[in-house]
Every structure is written in C-alpha cells, then in structure tokens.
C-alpha cells in the first residue's frame, strides 16, 4: 500500500501545483518541493528498512508489494513491487526531482503552475515504471512519462525546442510501439500456453519463450529500451532533446528517463528472454562499446556546452549497456552504480550549464572562459563534476565504470579493452570543457553573479553523494546485487567466455 502512495503523492502534487498557481508563482514551487520532499522521506524510509532487513532482500523477494485485480477478464492487475534496485532508483528520482525544482526556481517564470504539473507528472510516470510489476501497468506508466516531458521541451525549451520535441516524441513513440507489439505478443503466447490471460511479471517470467519467437520479442523489448537508454545508433534524439529542454527537463531526461531504459533492460528484456538475450549479449555489448567511444568523440567535438554534456551521457550509458549484458557479477552492480552516479553527476552538470546560460545568455564554449576568477564557487563545482564525469577514483562514477569493466573482462576481453579506451576520451572532453568555461583568460568587464545559496547547497549535496558512493558504496551495492541473482539465470561463466 505504501508503494501506491509513492505514486499518488507526485500525481496529487502535480494537480495541486497547477491549482495553486492562482495564488502566485511561489506556490507551485513550494508545493512541488513539499510533495517531493515527502516522497523522498517515504522512499528513504523504505530503503533504510530494506537495507537493515536480514537476510538482505533474498533473490526473488520484494521489499514491499501491493497487488490487486484491475481488469480481471484480461488478467490485468494493479501490481506494484519494489526490491533494492527499484528502491534505489526511487530515491534517485525523488532526489533529482527536488533538484530540478530548485534549478527551475529562477529559470522558469512563465506558466509556473503548468510547468510543475508537467514536471511532477513526468516523475509520476518514472516512479510508476520503477514500481510496476504488471506489464500493462508498466506500459501505461511508460507512456505517462512521455507527454509531459514533450510539453516541458516544447513549451519551456530553448531556440530549437519544437524540432527537438518532435524528434524526442517520434523516437520514443516508435520504441513504445515496438514494446507494445512485443508485449501483446508475449501475453498471447503465454495465454495460449497456459490458457489463462495474465500480464503479471512473475507469470510472464515463467513463459520461457525460446527460438525465433523469443528472439523477435526480445528485440522488440530491447529496441524500446535501447532508444530510451540510448544505445548507438538510436541516440540521436538525445543531444537535441537535452540541449533544447529547460534545465529541469535536461536533469530529468539525463538523470531519470534514460535510467528507465536501463531499468527496462535489467528487469524485463533480459529476464523475460534469457536465452535470446544470451545469444544477443555480444551484439549488445558491442553496441555499448561503440556508444562509449562514439559518444565521447562527439562530446569532444561540440562547441555547445549543453550538447557536450548530452553526448557525454551517450558515452556513460554505454557502460551501463556493457555491464547489463556482461552477465557477470561486479559488472551488474557496476551498471547500476553507473546509472545512479551518472544521474547525479550529469544532473549536476546540466544544472551548472543552466545556471551559466541564465547568466551569460549563451551556451557557446567559444564565448566563455576565465570564470574561475569571477565566480569561484561555480568554477569549483564545475571542476568537481567534470572530474567525477571523467571517472576519478573516490567518486561514484569510477566505481560504476570500473566494476563494469572488471566484470566484463572475463566474458569479453577485447570489448572491455576497447571500452577502457573510453576513459581516456572522457578525460579529453571533460578537461576541454573545464578549460573553455572556467579556465583561460577572462572576458573583460563581464559581471556575473555566483551561484545562489539554494543552488550551492543542492550541488554540494550532490557532490557529497558522489563522494559517499565513491568511498563507501557498500550499502548501495548490497542493495542492488540481489536484483541480478533473482532474475538472471544467464550468468556467462568465465571459462566459457574468455576461452
């Protein structure tokens, strides 16, 4: 039941935020902040309970679950459940939700109520995706994320927002269509085998569809999630959408929406079709490595700061794909760690870029420089998150990337070596970014204000989380580890892969 509240709170908050706009623009902001604070507290309490529980969420058990019939004739149920993985992602969602409200505080001045309505509604969709254990419900939430995000881009975005919005919509909608087809086909096949209609996750897990049908359905799921993740070569919506979205939109896109793709792969695409996924794993890992290198290369080439950060996401999410399909233990934990750490570090970078655009009215790297002397707090924080993003040990991103690489080496050494080259390229683009923003000669007589107090505290808290994840990642790793054991019978053994 508590899980239902986790969905209801932001949903109700969304409507309330729109409703209270009539009282003034501060009201929707505080409403959104309050309800996300409550969300964070509830999710945090659940997470803590699950972390303290022993034995720690054994494979196959849920930390919390709620399951009632919805449309019985088709076997559709309101089934929500959470394990360590979903709870960790819920925490991230609530946290980044708060951050996106904070960073919109001064940036969004028009239609404030409707903005927060869309923001919270997107978050509702994300939370639902992380909780739904009924595939119909999952698809519903999957679609719920889309429209408000589209509105956030086209209503509050920058110059090229319309085109970027269409592109985002078309790409994700095409993916959703494939997901829908594959999902219905899966349910059909399962129903014809068992004679009972069911959209329930556990029932479908038992379907074990093999052969060509399994491969095609797996591809349907994979493509839908691959577009969201995004996987090379379906990534091209991302730079446009991230660049044109308002700051909060970019934070949510990079921090959360991409993670729903990764979550879908971990929770559905791989466990539902273990055999097909195992055969497909080398291809997926290869695409992951291409994404790592290609994204880094393009990030380096950009002159638009926001586009640079966007392409760096393509690169970082390649590690997640590599780790998920490596099917070995440290790699899986690494992939989840990378999801969370990337959510925070890239979210922070987008917030910094947004703050910079608010001050300089440009995102062009060629028109920046020397900001360290003018706005040192900004400079220090940008340096910190750039360094986090290039995978500095002691911060969360390093743990994510290195666990992925450590785990992937035994199953696939050659691809891992290629992926490791990505950390050199990460250094190249991250340091170029630092150089052209905060270092170099300052433009004379340009007055800029340093970050506001709330922004400073938000970003410092994000930095502290990355340090925590980097120096003591054990609580998180122990939470998410079992999520693989329960649903992954496809561990590629070291002997088999490395020979």
């Amino acid at each position: 039941m508590i899980l239902l509240w986790l969905i209801i709170i932001p949903m109700a908050g969304a409507c309330a935020a729109w409703w209270v706009e009539r009282r003034g623009p501060q009201w929707p902001r505080w409403t959104a902040l309050t309800c996300l604070g409550v969300e964070l507290a509830v999710a945090g309490a659940l997470w803590r309970d699950a972390a303290l529980a022993t034995p720690l969420s054994r494979p196959g058990t849920w930390a919390a679950e709620w399951n009632v019939a919805w449309i019985p004739s088709w076997g559709i149920r309101l089934h929500v459940a959470a394990d360590g993985l979903s709870l960790s992602l819920l925490l991230l969602t609530a946290f980044l939700g708060i951050m996106s409200v904070v960073c919109s505080w001064t940036e969004i001045r028009e239609r404030v109520g409707f903005f927060h309505f869309n923001l919270l509604w997107t978050l509702t969709g994300v939370i639902g995706v992380f909780l739904a254990m009924d595939l119909f419900l999952f698809f519903l939430f999957w679609e719920v994320m889309l429209i408000p995000m589209y509105l956030l881009i086209i209503l509050w975005g920058h110059e090229g927002r319309l085109r970027a919005g269409y592109k985002f919509f078309l790409f994700t909608q095409a993916g959703s269509l494939l997901l829908l087809i594959a999902l219905i086909a899966l349910v059909f096949i399962q129903a014809s085998q068992k004679g009972v209609w069911s959209f329930d996750y556990h029932d479908l897990l038992g379907a074990q569809i093999t052969g060509a049908a399994g491969t095609w359905l797996m591809l349907g799921f994979f493509l839908a999630f691959a577009v969201k993740l995004p996987v090379f070569p379906f990534h091209t919506w991302l730079p446009d959408a991230h660049t044109e979205a308002p700051t909060a939109g970019s934070v949510i896109l990079a921090g959360l929406l991409l993670k729903t793709g990764a979550y879908g792969l971990i929770r559905f695409a791989v466990p539902l079709f273990p055999e097909a996924s195992r055969d497909f794993a080398p291809v997926a890992m290869f695409l992951g490595v291409v994404g790592i290198l290609y994204g880094a290369m393009l990030a380096f080439a950009q002159t638009d700061l926001k586009r640079l950060v966007a392409y760096s996401s393509v690169s970082h999410l390649g590690f997640v794909l590599l780790g998920v399909y490596a099917g070995a233990h440290p790699a899986f934990e690494g992939a989840v760690m990378q999801m969370i750490a990337h959510g925070i570090s890239t979210g922070a970078l987008f917030m910094l870029v947004g703050a910079l655009q608010e001050r300089l009215h440009t995102r062009d790297l060629r028109h920046m420089g020397g900001l360290w002397g003018r706005i040192p707090v900004f400079g220090a924080l940008l340096l910190f998150f750039a360094v986090a993003s290039l995978g500095m040990p002691g911060l969360g991103n390093f743990i994510g990337e290195f666990l992925v690489l450590l785990g992937s080496f035994a199953p696939h050494a050659a691809l891992t070596v290629a992926a490791t080259a990505g950390i050199v390229l990460a250094a190249v683009y991250a340091l170029v970014m630092v150089q052209y923003t905060v270092h170099g000669p300052a433009e004379p007589d340009r007055r800029v204000a340093d970050l506001s107090r709330p922004m400073q505290w938000s970003l410092v808290s994000m930095a502290l989380i990355l340090v925590w994840l980097g120096l003591y990642p054990q609580p998180l790793l122990r939470m998410v580890g079992p999520a693989m054991g329960s649903e992954r019978p496809m561990v590629v053994s070291a002997e088999e892969g490395s020979g």
Partner: protein, 628 residues
C-alpha cells in the same frame, strides 16, 4: 605506534578538506594548515618508522584494514594500508621532502592570489601519493595513482589564465591517462586470472601458477610497464613532463621530480615478482630506461630554460631507475630514487629561488654571475649539481648511480651495451649539470637580482643540500667500508637473489671508471662553457651540429610526431563528425517523408477535371493489369 599509520595519509587529506571547506581563513592560517598537516604527517611517519624498525612486525609487513571499500560478487577491495620496507622508504621521502617543499612554498607563493588553492591541491597531492604507496591492493593503488594525476593536472594549470598552461596540464593528464588505462587493463587481467586485486596475493599466485615467459604473464607485465611509463615519463610517453614545468616551481620539485613521477618505479618494484615471470618485458624495462636516459640527457644539454633542463634531467634520471629495475635490481632503483628525490628537489627549489630574484626569469642565457649575490642558493645548488653529476665519494648521486651501473654490469639480465648506455648517460649528465651551473652562477651578471630569499626558502635548501651529499652513506659499497644498510633493510620487503660474484677489485675498477666519467664530464663542461666558449659557438653554429641541437632542443621531435599523427587526426576526425553522421540518416528519412508529403499533396489540386483524368487513367491501368 604502527596503528597510527592511517594518520599519515589522513592528515594531509584533512588539511585539504579544511582548506576547501573551512570558511574564511587568513593567509597565516592557510600556511599553518597547509604546511602543518604535512608536518604532522611527517612526524607520524617518523614515529611509525621508528616503531617499525625497533620492533619489526611479523614478516616485515604491517597491514592496517580500515573498511571494505567495494565488495560486489567475487570482487573485493579493502581500504587497507600495507607498510613494508619499500612503502616505508616511499612514505618517508614523500612526507619529509614534501614537508620541506611545503615550508619553502609558504614563502615562495606568498604573493600569489591563489595561495589557498595552491595549498589545498598540494595537500591533496601528498594524501593521494601516500595512498598510492601504502595501498595493499591494486584498486586502491589506482585511487592514489589517478589522484596524484589529478593534482598534477590542477597544479600544472595552476595559473589558469594562460591557455598554454591549461594545454600543458591537459597534455600531462591525458598522456599519463593513456598509461593509466594500460594499468587498469592489467588490473582487469590479473583479477580475471586470480580473482583478487590484493598485491601480495597476486604476486604469490602469479609466481605459483604462471610459468615464466608465458604469454599471459608477459601481457600482464607489459600492461603494468606501460602504466609505469606514462606516470614516470619514459620514452615514448615522456613528452608531457617538460611542458609540465608550466606549474609553480615547488610543484615541479614535489610532483614532477621527487615523488609522483617515480610512482612507475614504485609500481614495478612492487610487482617485481610479476616482472621476473616475463623476461621479455623485463628486458624492455631496461631498454626503455637506457633509451630514455640517453635521449633526455642530450635534450637537457640543448635547453635554455632552467626548468626544462631539470625536467629532462628528471626524465633521464628516472631512466636510470628503470634500467635498474630492468636488470633485476629494484633496491638499486629505490636507492637512486631516494638520492634523486633529495638532489632534484633541491635543484628545482634552487631554480625557483633564482628565478624569484630575477623577476621570474627562467632563461639561463640571461642569467650569470649570481654566485656572489645569492651565495646560499649558489652553494646549495652546487651541491645538487655535484650530486646529479655524480662527483665521486662526496655526493649521494655517485653512490646510487654507481650501484645502478654496477648491478647492470654484474646482473645476468644486464650486459655491456646497457652499461655503456648508462655510463655515456652519466657523462652527458655531468656535462649538462655543470653547464647549467656555469651559466646561472658564474660568468658575467646579465640580470641584476633583487631581494634575498628568506629563511623559509634557504633552510629547506640547506637541508636538502645536506641530504644530497650524505644520503649516499646509507649504502656504502664493499670497496668503501661495506655498509649495506639500505639494501639489507629493503630486502626484507623484496627477497632477491643478490649474487655478488664479481670480485671487490672489479668493483673498485668500475667505480674508478665511473668517477673518471663524471669528472671528465664536469671538466669538459668547464672547458666548453667557461674556458673556451667561443670555440663551442663556432662549432655549434655549423650546419649538422645546429640541426642536431635543434632536434635535441625540441626533445627529439616526439611532440611534432604525435601532433602530426595522433592529435591532429583525432581533432580532424572529431570536427568532421561534429554533427553526427548517424543523425544524417534519420534526417534523410524525415526529408524523404517530407518530400513525399509535398509531392502527394501537390496532387490535391481541387480541379475536378484532373481528378476525373486520374480516376479514369487508374481504372484503365487496373483493368489492363487484371487482364494480363
């Protein structure tokens, strides 16, 4: 006392944290925190050392486990420090030389607006470097390894307004990261093979389960070697170090001479067991060392910038350490590391003191005759130069270089050619070090110095000068009293076959030859640069000599080569694809749809006659199709 080991890296890190987040601090406070944290760390390190020597822990190794850093599936990495003779020597050098350099910096950087930032980065560096040498597993070592790289980047680019400094900083970080990547892959390979990253376990398992010369052992050792080459600026990954001189001079002394650049030497000494399983790689280490020491020594001979001379000299001296590692004599490598840390830190600090009194002048052709005006700097600098050149008997550099070359001579992995390379390098070293001294301190005064260095600059100089002379007495060869204190201590950590089969007489002859080489170098330097400079000028102006000098000056054109074949193609490739070729496919698809839409909507003319024509025409076509 040993249980306070964790404080040694923790104190500088605490200093870093206070400087970053400590609110408003006066300049005095900043200096106290910045210097004090390293000072306390040095004191604790000293106490730990005393305790380690007075009551040695079992097995010559003390391990302090703080917490489990990462545990995921089969992978475990502990945050644990491991103290043995090898890490102890490193720890002492880092903390004590680090302390002297910090004291020096407190005065040297006093006018700089980034005073606080400077000490924050320096403290972070000392902490990371200590983690590197104390780490008990490769994963933790990698934390320190990358941490020092980051600090190096931050401090090279310390004066960030100059884009050139930023370029040098990025160059240093990226080139060393190429090496780091190899190290990381080596770590993955070792983990995949043995299921652990604990260094002691790895070395034991590797010796037990891998055959000498097996491909996998060779691959693992080669990967670690590439990592070491990047960090320690060995050919062909040496090009970043001369440019790294863009940072403040104390940074060059601490990071780019005494400590960080020797991390590769430490790594290979630490993984000596693995290196011995891969004779081919071990031979490569020696060859890399000799090539580096020769190429860099010749480059040092052609420089004008006083710091670049010292940078090339550092590359060259680390080449000697690699040579020692390659011939299976890590003790000699560590001994040379110790003396080099003293005299090279001294030389850099002296160079800083000189340039500070000459309005930040670094071109030694515009210096000269400074000895009378800056006597302390001059005499201490002379001690450093003598030690670097290896003047016999009285300098530390003599003893360590002698040990390296003697081991090269007698080791089964050594050989005549390696020895000749090393001895030739010693000659050029003496030549360029005295050239440097003569240009800066003797001759006519070309720039008037102003001010005199204060006590916080001169005291570290004097102390380092003392060390540069006496540190060699820690290890006296058989010919001169036979006092193997250093090697017998280190061999508790690195059990080695020490087959001193050669006779004492041979060793004496070897030392005499080496002494003559160093003295000849110094003498010829005097003749060339003091007694008969006009002859040198005539000779140097001639065609082939001039072009050779130009090649030396630009460090054998490695930079041009990389620029041409790596950097430019990469930038070009990235530029060409800035708009993402993959997106062009989707854009093209969208365009096709758009065109088709326009074309089809053009058929909607609203003219009934046109519709009727199309209708009738299609009907006819349809019937014709059905009939055929």
């Amino acid at each position: 006392m040993l249980s306070y080991l964790w404080l040694v890296p923790a104190l500088p890190l605490a200093g870093f944290l206070i400087l970053v987040a400590g609110g408003r601090l006066s300049k005095r406070m900043i200096a106290w925190i910045g210097v004090g944290s390293v000072g306390l760390s040095a004191i604790v390190a000293g106490l730990v050392t005393v305790s380690f020597i007075v009551s040695p822990p079992a097995g010559g190794r003390f391990t302090q486990h703080l917490w489990t850093w990462v545990e995921a599936g089969p992978f475990v990495s502990r945050l644990a420090f491991d103290l043995d003779a090898l890490s102890l020597v490193m720890m002492l050098v880092i903390t004590w030389i680090g302390l002297l350099i910090h004291v020096y910096s407190a005065e040297f950087m006093a006018e700089d607006s980034g005073y606080r930032r400077f000490f924050a980065y320096m403290n972070l560096f000392v902490g990371a470097m200590l983690i590197l040498v104390l780490a008990d597993n490769l994963f933790l070592l990698y934390l320190g390894w990358e941490g020092v790289g980051l600090c190096s980047y931050l401090l090279i680019g310390f004066w960030y307004e100059q884009p050139a400094n930023g370029w040098a900083a990025r160059k240093a970080f990226i080139i060393t990261r190429i090496g780091d990547t190899a190290l990381a892959i080596g770590m993955f390979l070792l983990f995949a093979s043995f299921g652990t990253v604990d260094i002691q376990d790895l070395m034991r398992d590797a010796s037990g389960r891998w055959d000498a010369g097996s491909p996998i052992a060779t691959a693992a050792a080669a990967l670690l070697l590439i990592g070491a080459m990047g960090k320690s600026a060995q050919v062909p990954l040496q090009t970043w170090l001369p440019d790294a001189m863009a940072g403040p001079t104390p940074v060059s002394a601490l990071i780019h001479a005494a400590t960080m650049v020797t991390a590769g030497v430490y790594l290979l000494a630490r993984t000596q067991a693995l290196l011995q399983l891969a004779p081919a790689v071990q031979f490569c280490v020696a060859v890399v060392g000799v090539m580096t020491l020769l190429l860099a020594a010749f480059s040092a001979l052609a420089q004008r910038d006083i710091k670049r001379v010292l940078a090339y000299s550092t590359i060259s001296q680390i080449g000697y350490m690699f040579l020692a590692l390659g011939v299976g004599a890590p003790v000699a490598a560590m001994f040379h590391f110790l003396t080099h840390a003293c005299f090279k830190a001294l030389l850099f600090l002296g160079a800083g003191a000189v340039s500070n009194s000459l309005h930040h002048e670094l071109d030694m052709f515009r210096m000269g005759g400074l000895c009378r005006r800056l006597p302390v700097t001059c005499w201490t600098f002379l001690a450093g130069v003598a030690s670097l050149a290896g003047l016999p008997l009285i300098t530390a550099g003599f003893y360590s270089k002698d040990l390296v070359l003697w081991e090269t001579w007698i080791s089964p992995h050594g050989g005549l050619w390696l020895w000749i390379g090393g001895a030739a390098g010693a000659f050029v070293t003496a030549l360029y070090s005295f050239r440097l001294f003569f240009f800066v301190f003797l001759g006519d005064m070309k720039t008037e110095p102003h001010g005199k260095p204060g006590p916080m600059i001169t005291v570290p100089l004097v102390m380092l000068a003392g060390l540069s002379l006496v540190a060699g007495f820690l290890e006296l060869p058989r010919t001169l009293g036979h006092w193997p204190l250093f090697s017998s201590f280190l061999e508790t950590a690195m059990p080695l076959v020490h087959a001193d089969s050669a006779s004492v007489a041979a060793e004496a002859i070897h030392q005499s030859v080496l002494s003559l080489v160093a003295l000849a170098g110094a003498g010829i330097a005097y003749w060339l640069y003091r007694a008969a400079p006009e002859r040198l000028a005539i000779f140097a102006a001639a065609g082939p000599a001039a072009s050779l000098r130009r090649v030396w000056f630009e460090g054998w054109a490695f930079d041009r080569f990389y620029d041409r074949f790596v950097v430019r193609p990469f930038i070009e490739m990235a530029r060409t694809n800035r708009t993402d070729a993959v997106d062009a496919v989707y854009t093209a698809a969208a365009r096709v749809v758009e065109r088709a839409h326009v074309a089809l909507s053009d058929t909607q003319t609203g003219s009934v006659r046109w519709y009727a024509t199309v209708l009738a025409g299609s009907g006819v076509l349809f019937i014709w199709y059905m009939l055929t």
